[in-house]
C-alpha cells in the first residue's frame, strides 16, 4: 500500500498533560510506515462544548478541525473519545449546512482511534514496545461502545512478548471521568473511580492501560489518593511504542525528578506520574 | 374543552395532523391490526416430544414441579400422590371444568367453585401452555375462575401435552381461533409467585401460591 499520509490529532489533554503520548503515537505511526503530519493550528475537537450544551461552540470547532484535517488520507487520535467526536458526532452537527455535512462525513469516514487504525487499517505485524509485566486494560466508554474498540488494543498488546493481560472485573464499566462531569460532580465521579480502582487493584496487574487520557488521569488520581503508589497508569500508545519516546518534560532542572513509582522494567524512564526521560 | 380533546388536540398538533395524513395513518393502523406481524422468535423444535421436554425443563427452571401421566384418568391419583408427598391437605378447590374426574376415588375432597381465602389447594387446567418459557395460559370464564390459581398456597395445574405450543404468539392464535375474543382475564403463569424486594433475594410465595405443581397428560 502506498505511504498513508496521516494527520495526527494530538488531543488537547495530551498536548497539555502528557506530550509523550503524542510522541508515542507519532512513533507508532511512523514505524508502521505512515507519513505523519501534525497540523500546528489544531486545538480541540469541540467535544467538551458539544457535551456541555454549547452547540455553536462545537460547530465552530468542528469546522476548524475539518478544515485542518480534510487534506489527509487518515486522521488518527490517541483517544477513542476525540476520534468518536469526529467520526460519530461531526456529521450530525451540520443538519442545515449540507456542504459542511458532506465535508464532515468525508472526514469522519477517515478518522480512527490509534489502536483501531493500527489493527484495522495498517494491519501491523509488530510494534516497537518491550514492556515486561502484567497489565489490565480499561475499555474507555466511547471507544468500546461507540467505536467498537475492544480487541484492537488487546491484539497489539499481545504482540509484546513480555506483556500478559489480566482482565479486571467490569473492564467496560465507566471510570467516572465523563469530561466536565468530573469537575461538576467531583464527589460522584471520584466514588465511581473508586470502584474502577478496586477492580484494577484486584486484578493484581502491575499497570493499568487505556486508550484515553481523561480516564487515565482520573484513574491515576484516584489510585494515588487511595494510597496506591505502585500501580502504573499507562496510555496504550506508551506501552506499544516503548522506550525511545522523545522528548520528556524539561520544566525542572536537574533532569526532572523521577516518578515515585520508579521506572517500569522494559520501559526506559519513568512513564507516568513523572516526567519521561529523553529529549529532542 | 374536555381533557380528552385537549390532550388529543395537542398530540395532533405535534404530529401536524391533517385530513390527508390521517387517512394514510388510518390505513396503516388497519393494516397493522390486520397483519399481526410477529417479531423475532426463538427457534423452538415443534416436535411434540421436544415441546413437552422443553416445557418441562423451563417449568422446572421457573421453580414448578412436574409430573407426567399417560391419561386423564390418572390425574386424581397423581394429585393425591403429590399432596401426600408434600404433606398437604387432601381437600381442594377446582375448576368446574374438572368436575368429571374421579377425585373421591383418589381420596380427595374436591369442590368445584370459585376460590376462597381459606382454600389451601387449588386445582386448575389451563387453556394451553407455552414451551418457550414454561408458561401456563389461563383464560378466565365461569367454569375457570382466575382466583383458583391465585388464592391457595398450592396450585396444581393439569396440562394436556397436545396443548403445549412453542411460543406465546401461537397461544394468541389458538385463543382467537377457539375463543374469538379475549376473555376478561388471560393470566400467563410461570411458576410460584415470588419477590426479590428485600435485598434482591428471591423468595417464593409472595401474594400467590408458594408452589406450582404441573401434571402433564400425554394424550
Amino acid at each position: 500500500m502506498p505511504t498513508a499520509r496521516v494527520g495526527l490529532f494530538v488531543t488537547c489533554l495530551v498536548d497539555l498533560m502528557r506530550p509523550r503520548i503524542g510522541f508515542a503515537t507519532l512513533k507508532l505511526l511512523e514505524d508502521a510506515g505512515c507519513e505523519v503530519v501534525v497540523p500546528d493550528t489544531q486545538t480541540c475537537c469541540g467535544q467538551p462544548a458539544w457535551n456541555s450544551g454549547d452547540a455553536p461552540g462545537a460547530v465552530a470547532l468542528a469546522k476548524k478541525t475539518i478544515a485542518e484535517f480534510e487534506g489527509f488520507d487518515y486522521i488518527v487520535a490517541p483517544s477513542g473519545s476525540c476520534a468518536d467526536q469526529i467520526r460519530t458526532e461531526y456529521p450530525g452537527l451540520f443538519a442545515d449546512e449540507p456542504n459542511w455535512r458532506d465535508r464532515a462525513t468525508a472526514l469522519a469516514s477517515r478518522t480512527y482511534e490509534l489502536t483501531d487504525f493500527l489493527v484495522t487499517v495498517l494491519k501491523v505485524d509488530s510494534v516497537p514496545g518491550d514492556y515486561e509485566g502484567t497489565v489490565t486494560y480499561h475499555d474507555s466508554c466511547t471507544g468500546v461502545r461507540s467505536l467498537g474498540i475492544k480487541e484492537q488494543p488487546r491484539a497489539l498488546l499481545a504482540k509484546l512478548k513480555g506483556v500478559s493481560l489480566n482482565e479486571m472485573n467490569g473492564c467496560e464499566e465507566c471510570c467516572g471521568f465523563g469530561g466536565t462531569f468530573s469537575v461538576k460532580f467531583g464527589e460522584v465521579s471520584a466514588a465511581i473511580a473508586e470502584r474502577k480502582c478496586d477492580n484494577i487493584l484486584a486484578s493484581g496487574a502491575k499497570a493499568v492501560v487505556a486508550g484515553d487520557l481523561g480516564c487515565l488521569l482520573n484513574i491515576e488520581g484516584k489510585l494515588r489518593r487511595m494510597g496506591d503508589e505502585t500501580t502504573q497508569v499507562l496510555h496504550v500508545a506508551e506501552v506499544l511504542a516503548g522506550q525511545d519516546n522523545p522528548p520528556g518534560p524539561l520544566s525542572r532542572k536537574g533532569g526532572d525528578g523521577s516518578s515515585p513509582t520508579g521506572s517500569a522494567p522494559g520501559v526506559r524512564g519513568p512513564l507516568w506520574g513523572g516526567p519521561a526521560a529523553g529529549g529532542a | 374543552m374536555s381533557s380528552r380533546d385537549d390532550i388529543l388536540g395537542r398530540v395532533r398538533a405535534s404530529l401536524h395532523r391533517n385530513a390527508g395524513n390521517a387517512a394514510a395513518a388510518r390505513e396503516e393502523i388497519v393494516a397493522a391490526l390486520g397483519s399481526r406481524t410477529q417479531g423475532p422468535k426463538p427457534a423452538i423444535d415443534a416436535d411434540p416430544h421436544a415441546l413437552l421436554e422443553r416445557f418441562r425443563l423451563k417449568s422446572e427452571t421457573q421453580s414448578s414441579t412436574v409430573d407426567i401421566v399417560a391419561q386423564e384418568s390418572e390425574v386424581p391419583a397423581a394429585v393425591a400422590r403429590y399432596l401426600a408427598a408434600m404433606n398437604l391437605p387432601k381437600s381442594a378447590v377446582a375448576w368446574a371444568s374438572l368436575a368429571a374426574l374421579d377425585w373421591g376415588g383418589a381420596g380427595l375432597q374436591v369442590e368445584t367453585r370459585g376460590a376462597r381465602d381459606a382454600d389451601l389447594v387449588g386445582i386448575t387446567g389451563c387453556f394451553c401452555a407455552v414451551a418457550e418459557t414454561g408458561t401456563l395460559m389461563m383464560c378466565s370464564s365461569p367454569d375457570t375462575p382466575a382466583a383458583v390459581s391465585l388464592l391457595p398456597e398450592t396450585h396444581i395445574a393439569i396440562v394436556r401435552a397436545s396443548r403445549i405450543l412453542p411460543c406465546m404468539e401461537d397461544a394468541w392464535n389458538l385463543a382467537r381461533q377457539e375463543l374469538g375474543s379475549l376473555p376478561r382475564a388471560v393470566n400467563f403463569i410461570s411458576g410460584p409467585s415470588r419477590t426479590g424486594d428485600i435485598e434482591q433475594t428471591i423468595v417464593l410465595g409472595a401474594h400467590g401460591p408458594y408452589r406450582v405443581h404441573l401434571v402433564i397428560v400425554e394424550d
Binding site: D40, V233 | V11, T195, A206
Partner: protein, 468 residues
C-alpha cells in the same frame, strides 16, 4: 430536585452504599444471563423499538383505536391532563362506588400524581401491595428509589426493624418469614378493599386490554378481588397487537429482573360477566398526559418508547453510586434524568441532564434503543439556550470555545496552563488541591503534567531535526 445537594448525603450513607453495592451486581449479572438466553436479542430490540415508534408516530389515532376497543369491552375511558386531574378522577370513581379502601399494584404514575396523599385526604385508605412499595408506605411513605425494586436502598436489617415496629411482631431477619408476614397483612387488605388500582405496562389497541407484569401476584390480586379496577397509565403505553406484546415481553422481564418471563403476565379485557366467580364489575382506564403530549414530535420523542424496565439505572455508574433518591423525583437514573426535566420542567432540574458521564451503558442496555446520552446532551443544549445554566459556566464555555478557535492564543494558554499545573504539583507527581477545579480534588488527586505542551516539544524536535 436538588440533586447535587442530595449526592453528598447519599455518598456518606454507609448503609445505603452497602445496599447499592449488593444490588448492582445482581441486577447486572441476572440481566446478562437472561439476554444470552435469547436467540436474537438485537433483532428483538429493533423490532421492539419499531413497535413503539409505530404508535408514537400516530399516537392520536392509536389512542382513539384503543379507546374504542376498550369501550366495546365495557370499560370506561377517562383522560387526565395532569396529576391533579388523576387524583380528582380516582377520588370521584371511589366515591361513586362507595370505596373506603384501595389496594394498589405498583404505579409510577400514581407516584407522579401524589395519589396516595390525595386519597388519604379524601378519607380513602390506599394500601400499597407490592412488597417493596408496602415497605416504603409503612416507613412514613418514603418514596421509591427504583422503578422496579422500590426498596432496593433498604437492607434486610432495616426491613426487620421496620416490620417489628409497624406490625408489633417479634423482630425477624429471615427474608421468607418477613415476606410471609407482609403477605398475611396484605391478604386481609386484598379481600376487603372495594377498589384495586394498577398501572399498566402496555395497553393493547387490538383488544382494548391492559397488560400487567408482576412477580408477586399482587397485580393479579388487585385486578381480581375488588369490584372496581382502575388502571392509571400514560398515554404513551399503547401498542398495536398481542403479537407486539409478545415481542416486548421477550425484552421487558429480561431487561428488568433478568427473567425470561415474569411469573404473572395478565392481559385484562373488560369486566366480569354476571355468571363469573371473580373479576371486577367496573373497569376504568385513566389515560394521563402529564407532559407526554408535548414530547410527541419533539427532539425527545424517542423517550416515549420507554417501557420502564429500569435497566438504564441498573447499569448507570452514577445511579449505582448514589441510588435513586438523590434524583429527587419519581424517575431516577438516566431515564429519570430525561423524564424529570421534560415532565417536571427544565428549570426544576438543572443538574439532572448533567448528572451522567455519557458512558452510554444505558443506551446499550435499553431494550427499545433509546439514545439516552443523546437526549441528555440535547437537554443540556436546551438549558444553555434558555440561559438556565449558571452564568459563570456559560461564559466559561464560550470563552474556552472562542480561545480554542484561535490557535496562537490557545497555545499560549496551554503553555501557561501546563506550567501552572506543574508548579502546583511542585516536586511531586500529583496535585492534591486544584484551585481551578476543586471538585476534582475532593476525592482524588490530579496527576501532574509533564510541564511543557506537546506542540512546544514537537516544534523543538522539528527545529532540531529538520525534515527533508
Amino acid at each position: 430536585m436538588h440533586f447535587k445537594a442530595n449526592v453528598h448525603a447519599k455518598l456518606s450513607d454507609v448503609v445505603l452504599q452497602g445496599n447499592l453495592k449488593n444490588a448492582k451486581g445482581k441486577f447486572v449479572t441476572r440481566r446478562a444471563e437472561a439476554i444470552r438466553d435469547l436467540d436474537d436479542f438485537e433483532g428483538t430490540r429493533d423490532a421492539a423499538a419499531a413497535i413503539r415508534n409505530k404508535v408514537i408516530d400516530n399516537m392520536d389515532l392509536w389512542l382513539e383505536t384503543f379507546e374504542r376497543k376498550a369501550l366495546d369491552t365495557g370499560a370506561k375511558v377517562l383522560w387526565a391532563k395532569d396529576g391533579v386531574e388523576v387524583c380528582r378522577l380516582v377520588i370521584e370513581i371511589a366515591k361513586r362506588h362507595g370505596v373506603t379502601k384501595v389496594t394498589k399494584s405498583k404505579s409510577m404514575l400514581s407516584e407522579e400524581a401524589g395519589l396516595n396523599h390525595a386519597l388519604e385526604a379524601a378519607g380513602i385508605q390506599p394500601v400499597e401491595t407490592d412488597l417493596g412499595e408496602y415497605i416504603l408506605q409503612v416507613d412514613n411513605n418514603e418514596p421509591p428509589s427504583h422503578i422496579i425494586a422500590p426498596a432496593v436502598h433498604k437492607s434486610l436489617d432495616e426491613v426487620a426493624d421496620l416490620f417489628h415496629k409497624v406490625h408489633g411482631t417479634p423482630r425477624k431477619t429471615d427474608i421468607p418469614a418477613l415476606t410471609r408476614e407482609a403477605r398475611e397483612v396484605l391478604r386481609a387488605h386484598f379481600l376487603s378493599a372495594e377498589m384495586g388500582l394498577s398501572g399498566g405496562n402496555f395497553l393493547v389497541a387490538e383488544t382494548g386490554s391492559v397488560a400487567l407484569v408482576t412477580n408477586e401476584g399482587n397485580g393479579r390480586m388487585v385486578t381480581t378481588m375488588p369490584k372496581v379496577h382502575v388502571v392509571i397509565t400514560g398515554i404513551e403505553k399503547v401498542i398495536p397487537t398481542l403479537e407486539d406484546l409478545s415481542t416486548l415481553m421477550r425484552l421487558l422481564p429480561r431487561s428488568a429482573t433478568g427473567q425470561s418471563i415474569s411469573n404473572y403476565f395478565s392481559i385484562l379485557t373488560g369486566v366480569k360477566k354476571p355468571e363469573e366467580h371473580d373479576g371486577p364489575e367496573h373497569l376504568y382506564f385513566v389515560l394521563v398526559d402529564s407532559g407526554r403530549a408535548d414530547v410527541v414530535g419533539s427532539d425527545f420523542h424517542a423517550m416515549l418508547r420507554c417501557i420502564r424496565c429500569g435497566a438504564c439505572m441498573n447499569h448507570c455508574p452514577v445511579y449505582q453510586t448514589i441510588g435513586g433518591h438523590a434524583y429527587g423525583w419519581v424517575y431516577p437514573g438516566p431515564m429519570g434524568s430525561v423524564l424529570t426535566p421534560l415532565y417536571a420542567g427544565l428549570e426544576n432540574s438543572i443538574d439532572l441532564p448533567h448528572a451522567a458521564t455519557l458512558c452510554n451503558q444505558c443506551g446499550i442496555v435499553c431494550p427499545v434503543k433509546i439514545p439516552l446520552p443523546d437526549l441528555l446532551r440535547k437537554l443540556r443544549e436546551k438549558q444553555t439556550e434558555h440561559g438556565l445554566r449558571p452564568l459563570t459556566e456559560r461564559i466559561g464555555l464560550r470563552l474556552w470555545a472562542w480561545v480554542a478557535q484561535h490557535p496562537k492564543l490557545y497555545a499560549l494558554g496551554a503553555r501557561v496552563g501546563a506550567r501552572y499545573l506543574k508548579w502546583l504539583a511542585g516536586d511531586t507527581d500529583r496535585i492534591r488541591l486544584l484551585p481551578t477545579a476543586p471538585e476534582w480534588t475532593l476525592g482524588r488527586d490530579f496527576p501532574a503534567p509533564q510541564g511543557k505542551t506537546f506542540r512546544e516539544l514537537y516544534a523543538a524536535r522539528r527545529s532540531a531535526t529538520p525534515r527533508t
